[in-house]
Subunit: 338 residues, 2 copies
């Protein structure tokens, strides 16, 4: 049997699954930010004409999936498997968005790392001939997350300086066995890293060690240097988590600052949008990848990126029970060349 | 590229991933039921010496994973990827059980279908050479589920006749590229089926149409008859859901009753254990597979089984918002022969 496994935690794809299309849907605040021009659908109404924020989140997933399908010219029936997940309890954002599609559905929970996890698994399915076309889909919604994780919105709770702002948005990527690219060439599956951070309003700090671990392992496993990528983009470390990531690499004698960027830092304007430490949520990395980065790759501005979505695997209950915050990060190597 | 895809929603594995070991952990009530003799670890204390039911659930996962590893003679470092999920909000049962293992972790949310979903994906990873050893792990806990989904336990709420009893238990399966079996030969990825059931205390009825759809598709995709399996076992349809499943097949002119069994019906004694419509939860199908069925296969009492774990993709909030209950079911074909 031919082994695709390489190093400690990585795989190299034999057949280089191709991104057939991607789509991004953004909420109102996101559509007023610096990446507004890159999103496919900018929603003026964060309820997307639905009766609740949770239903709005499902609707965003529907729009993202449908938009990606239209771009690729394929029907639901052509999608052999779809990986999706979100932040809502029991991942109802995903199960209700997919209810009427008939697409074989494998639900994920990777917190804000979901887009990378879904891409890794979609790539495995397509690469190995287990699916002809696979889809990766995720979302988050500021209002549905805020009331589930923190306070009722009407409460008007004050946010701490390290807090991040959950992005309202959804992203979808379709992968196929043949196409003009970009291609997924390798992936690194992260393991949980917990440095003992207990402040649920400082998730950037909780996730930074996981991002460090996965990026470090990826570079070692594939014998690469940061310079082999045009950009190494983390999901939602925000400004504080990003600083910590750079510091962890600095201790190894590696300057990641010339290559690193973070979706949570890119998606909002810190000067005018009052989001404190930056954006977060599954939708943060998903919309930034599908909107900004994949469009930059289509324009050949970037040729090689390492997409590293980061997740904080806590729950309100685990915090109440005094637990620290386990972090995780999965990495996907995307290139315009096979 | 060689395609493993067959029919509408199924895959056939080229290399027949082998079950290296499995382990099951059961709570007190489960250890007083008809399958008590099959479980590896029968807990007398449903808190497993932990400070909360949630931590007890994580502990059961730890014990299941460790027990399976000991049986197979492997270390955490030998496991290339682990798929796990549970019913707790943000799947904290899994993230906290795996926090210190260092194992590459891909989190799932498939509600009570998680064991089948994890087995499908573990088989894909091993079959395609993306992992040398993969693990599937899941759990549920009556007390942690009851207070999250329904009422505080101390409230002493009455249960309706269609209600099911969440199993306290965990199961783990380790898959490898070589071994004496049993083997995973095929899998069918389910799509969501929603027949409009809105009663969250009747999940068997909500999941039965999904079980029907996946089993029907599996048999069609692989050109098999129910008689090709010694047993077709659903996860947690319970007594009512099982009846509905048989009725749906009867309408096709197929008598599934001679082959069908249900983990939710097997795990408790309906006469003495007062569980109404039967057992449920991720741990129900996981412990019954890892305890009962895989041991029966080791004894060559069963040679071919179709394991079809079923999930209800609702949340308390989706029910409060008036939504119906989407069901899903994934199927795994397990055989003593390649």
């Amino acid at each position: 049997m031919e082994q695709c496994r390489i190093g400690k935690q990585s795989v190299q794809f034999r057949n280089h699954p191709a991104i057939l299309a991607s789509a991004s849907v953004a909420g109102k605040k996101e559509s007023e930010g610096p990446l507004a021009g890159y999103f496919d659908i900018c929603g003026k109404d964060t309820k997307f004409a639905q009766a609740s924020w949770e239903k709005a989140e499902s609707k965003m997933q529907e729009i993202a999936l449908d938009s990606a399908r239209y771009k690729a010219g394929i029907r639901n029936a052509n999608i052999d498997v779809l990986f999706a997940g979100d932040l809502l309890n029991q991942c109802i954002g995903s199960s209700f968005s997919l209810r009427d599609t008939g697409i074989p559905f494998l639900g994920l929970y990777g917190a804000c790392s979901t887009m990378a996890e879904a891409l890794c698994l979609s790539a495995v399915m397509v690469d190995g001939g287990y699916a002809r076309i696979a889809a990766a889909l995720t979302s988050s919604h500021f209002a549905s997350a805020e009331r589930q994780y923190r306070f009722p919105l009407v409460y008007g709770g004050q946010r701490t300086p390290t807090a991040q702002w959950t992005v309202t948005g959804a992203g979808c990527v379709l992968l196929g066995q043949k196409g003009d690219g970009p291609y997924i060439n390798a992936a690194t599956f992260g393991s949980i890293v917990d440095f003992g951070i207990k402040d649920a309003a400082n998730m950037g700090a909780a996730m930074a060690p996981a991002a460090y671990s996965t990026i470090r392992t990826h570079l070692d496993d594939l014998k690469k240097a940061p310079e082999d990528y045009d950009v190494i983009v983390t999901g939602d470390l925000g400004s504080l988590g990003s600083e910590l990531l750079l510091e962890l690499f600095r201790r190894d004698g590696v300057d990641l600052s010339t290559r690193h960027n973070d979706c949570g830092c890119l998606i909002f304007d810190p000067k005018t949008q009052d989001v404190h430490a930056g954006g977060s949520g599954c939708g943060c990395s998903a919309t930034t990848l599908c909107g900004y980065f994949l469009k930059k790759m289509a324009q050949r501005e970037y040729k090689n990126i390492l997409f590293c979505a980061t997740g904080a695997l806590l729950s309100p209950l685990s915090t109440q029970q005094g637990e620290s915050i386990p972090g995780i990060c999965h990495a996907v190597s995307i290139s315009t060349e096979r």
